[in-house]
Amino acid sequence: MTGIMRLGGRLRRAVALSVAVGLGTTLAFADQTQIFDPKTHKWVNYDRKKARQYYAAHGQVPDAFRRQVVDFRTAEKPGTIIIDGNQHFLYLVLPGLKAVRYGIGVGRDGFGWAGIVRVGRMAEWPTWTPPAEMVARDPNAVKFAGGMPGGPDNPLGARALYLYQGDQDTIYRIHGTPEPWTIGLDVSSGCIRMNNDDIVDLYSQVQVGAKVVVLMQGAALYKGV
């Protein structure tokens, strides 16, 4: 049995993982994702520090969060995106009861929402405009108050899918990140982040209008549905 789990205030188990991590055995962090180490048969914490260490050592995130085609029996039609923030997975439904599964990073406080939306707009190397409250509290954000041009350091990464409910922008996005080691963690400010290779892959396979289902479990519940 392998999986991801959260400890400390939250106890969450996700996924069947097979993570050949070699993360060491000292557990000094609580309230973070855990991954199962098949070598030691122990759960090991997967927090910011461990994630950085893993990424530095391997140049990529653990197996579970890497892009892969998985069996996925669903009534949703191919092209639909299903987001499971609790397990840090985004599924793109394929024909034949399969899906592409991507690892994602989600918000520190969850999404605060769940339900059915659609991809209303898509952009390559999108401009990022910090929210007014961030500009007010973070001097580093002031220079980008009018918008930060797209590029490798832009927080939205290589691509962005803008999520709409009807014709209204929900303000939530699925986007890339210049910090790929954060995949699998709860670190963003509410959007869904993927590493740049993955968001480029996803972007190439979906079109404006694609259905997006955000599950009500886990991350979507932190602020209540």
């Binding site: 049995m1 996925f72 029996r73 059915i116 955000v214 599950l215 009500m216």
Partner: protein
């Protein structure tokens, strides 16, 4: 089938467009759940092929369909769920006599389901297990110590009943009760099944989820009319506190309904409708074909009728 007493809000929303002028001989009202879409179209295909009547299929909810059956703008409704719509049946069939219900029905179930993995690995077998905080915690996804479970969509009358049952059994204290569109709930089941994660949810059958995943319905005390005291939200703001139902749903079923006047106007049509005898397995297969295989309901129905010629002939006897 989304049986469940799809609510006033939903039905009210379609009221404006429900009754369309039709040049057809008959109007079959079509529910918006998969098996209802299939069976409405099978009825159309069977009638047009066997009796050469022109049939129009129009989508509408059960409550609107009953009004149409009563006033003559609708002739047939393929899936009337009981006990969910007992009040409508009482009003239009028993009291007014304008709606006839076929004596044949398809057995159905409602209750709480888990995946086989949840059943086997986490020891969740009976509804009473949910009162155990340790077992309920298995379903915790947001870290508050309580489990989460889907109890139905907003607007379904069955969702009110499930909330009453949660209070009555006592698991309203250990579980967070979620109301969401069925597609969100079913996607959560898909994701849980794909990763062997435990999940519990309100379920009804026939439904394609039983074909898509290995699902087990939890055991619970049998229905007892003396213990089934339901006041609906639409009827009383104190509905929850006034209600109590610590038992299983009454055994459910659904059957074809048609306007009583059809018996005189088109007796052959009425005979065919009375003889429709879908099995639960057939209805599940219909649901799977429409919802999972994404077959067009009209084309699926034409193929079904073509491959069940003897069956349709028997309906005419």
């Amino acid at each position: 089938m989304k049986p469940l007493l799809r609510g006033v809000c939903v039905t009210a929303a379609v009221l404006g467009g429900a009754f369309q002028v039709s040049a057809a001989d008959l109007v079959v009202a079509m529910p918006n759940w998969p098996s209802g879409q299939a069976s409405a179209n099978i009825i159309k295909a069977a009638l047009e092929k066997s009796l050469e009547v022109k049939v129009d299929v129009q989508e509408m909810g059960t409550m609107i369909a009953f009004t149409g059956l009563d006033t003559g703008t609708v002739d047939v409704y393929p899936e009337v769920w009981q006990p969910n719509f007992d009040q409508l049946i009482q009003k239009f069939s028993t009291e007014r006599g304008t709606v006839h219900l076929s004596s044949r029905n398809v057995a159905a179930t409602q209750g709480l389901c888990v995946t086989q993995k949840t059943y086997d690995d986490f020891g969740i077998h009976d509804v009473a297990d949910l009162k155990d905080p340790a077992k309920a915690k298995v379903f915790d996804t947001d870290g508050d110590g309580k489990g989460e479970m889907w109890i139905g969509a907003r607007g379904w009358l069955s969702t009110d009943v499930e909330r009453i049952r949660a209070k009555s059994y006592g698991y309203a204290d250990t579980m967070t009760l979620l109301e969401m569109p069925e597609e969100v709930a079913m996607s959560a089941v898909d994701a849980a099944a794909a990763t062997d994660k435990p999940i519990i949810f309100y379920c009804y059958s026939p439904h394609h989820v039983f074909e898509l995943h290995q699902v087990k319905q939890l055991s619970e005390p049998p229905f007892d009319a003396a213990k089934w005291n339901i006041v609906l939200q639409a009827d009383d703001p104190m509905w929850l506190s006034k209600s109590d139902a610590p038992v299983a749903w009454k055994p459910s079923s659904f059957s074809v309904a048609y306007a009583t006047s059809l018996s005189k106007r088109l007796p052959q049509v009425a005979k065919l409708l009375d003889n429709i005898d879908f099995t639960a397995d057939e209805v599940t297969a219909m649901s799977y074909a429409i919802e999972v295989e994404r077959q067009d309901p009209a084309k699926y129905a034409e193929q079904w009728v073509a491959s069940h010629e003897d069956r349709v002939k028997a309906w005419l006897q």
